[in-house]
Amino acid sequence: MKTVGTIRIAGLILLLAFTASGCAVRPWLKPYDRARLADPVMNVSAHPIAESYMGHVHQARESMRGAEGSAGGGCGCN
């Protein structure tokens, strides 16, 4: 599927560009700047057992599989 391949290649280029630039860029947020990100409202899978069940419901009825998960970050949101 050409569109999917193009999007993936574009994503990979963005990822590589970001990684390369990361070598020259300092972390732009201090731990005390991350209070909002650590708020429970930012944890989209705060209840993993309920989330995994819903993923199970989707997978049983769709062909799409893989790359499940949730947005998050290294912020110690837990």
């Binding site: 991350r34 995994s52 819903m54 199970h56 049983a60 769709e62 062909s63």
Partner: protein, 375 residues
Amino acid sequence: MQLMRTLSVALLLGASTLLQASVLPEDRLDVLYHQYEGGGMKINGPSVLVRKSFADKVAVHANYYVDEVSAASIDVLVSASPYSEERTEKSVGVDYLHGKAIYSLSYANSEENDFEANSVHFDMSQDFFGDLTTLSLGYSKGWDEVFRTGDNSFAEEADRQHFRINLSQILTRNLMASLGHELITDEGYLNNPYRSVRYLTSGGSYSFEPERYPETRTSEATSLRLSYYLPWRAGLHGEYRIYDDSWGIDASSWQVKLIQPLGSNWTLEGRYRAYQQGDADFYADLFPFQNAQNFLARDKELSEFSSTVVGLGIGFEFSKPNWETIDRAGLNLWVDRFSFDYDNYRDIRVDTTPGTEPLYSFDATVTRLLFTLWY
């Protein structure tokens, strides 16, 4: 045999912790009641999860999950009789925190009267770049055994492997992003042993023959997720996922979800999800004649269709000063309404000229009630 995709359930249970390196999962007990009802299917049961950490270094978890299935779906009605069965799944796992990395290992077993799946999963997650970035890598291996009720001579096997990578990035004080990719390969008996395809007969009617699937399948899925902190203290979460596989299926989905606290104890949730997929290369609702091609499928999950989900949830958390070992407790209820519309899967319960039956569609409701203790 209700479900053959149990491998990913254990994956999902682990996935929620994948993206949060440097911190072990919380100690908690979850008791979930789940119910799916729609399209002639009713599936319900409990799921219990226990997590416990030790010395802030190691955390263990165990999950017990049951599906009680009462099946009278359109697939069953046109080629078999309604049936009931039970599926149980057990999984155990351990997480080890070392510096800014978490290593996770888990094992899952799923059993039905005509199906058994075993799988192992390994994941590692590392924080770097001032803890703004988290890189996660994972691998899973699964072994399925497929049987057929009423046929003791039937026994087949399938092996599955998953390779996954995820990069999460804090972008601003209010925004996080996550990019994930997963490759899955299957090899072995990938059919459903009960399903049939239909083909036209010379008399202008139709008949059935067993499905035949390829013995390998490779798929890739990529997801982009964003989470944004809204000015009035709420979380807005977006997700876009694309998929394609060696069977010729391409698919995509997007979802938005809002988590809105009300006061200090209540939380409201709302979500909308849209999904669409194309059909497999060897899918047809009606084949022109018997043995029309090497591979044959009329499984509606391999057809072209779209679906939507609208979901609402409400949660309540509370605690008492005199609780000693328990930190707090919570109760959550979610109700999700699904709508499926098939583009080339016809409702052959309607007796008319083959190939002109109405297209099939159905709605389903999923209910989840969760009780949690954090300790």
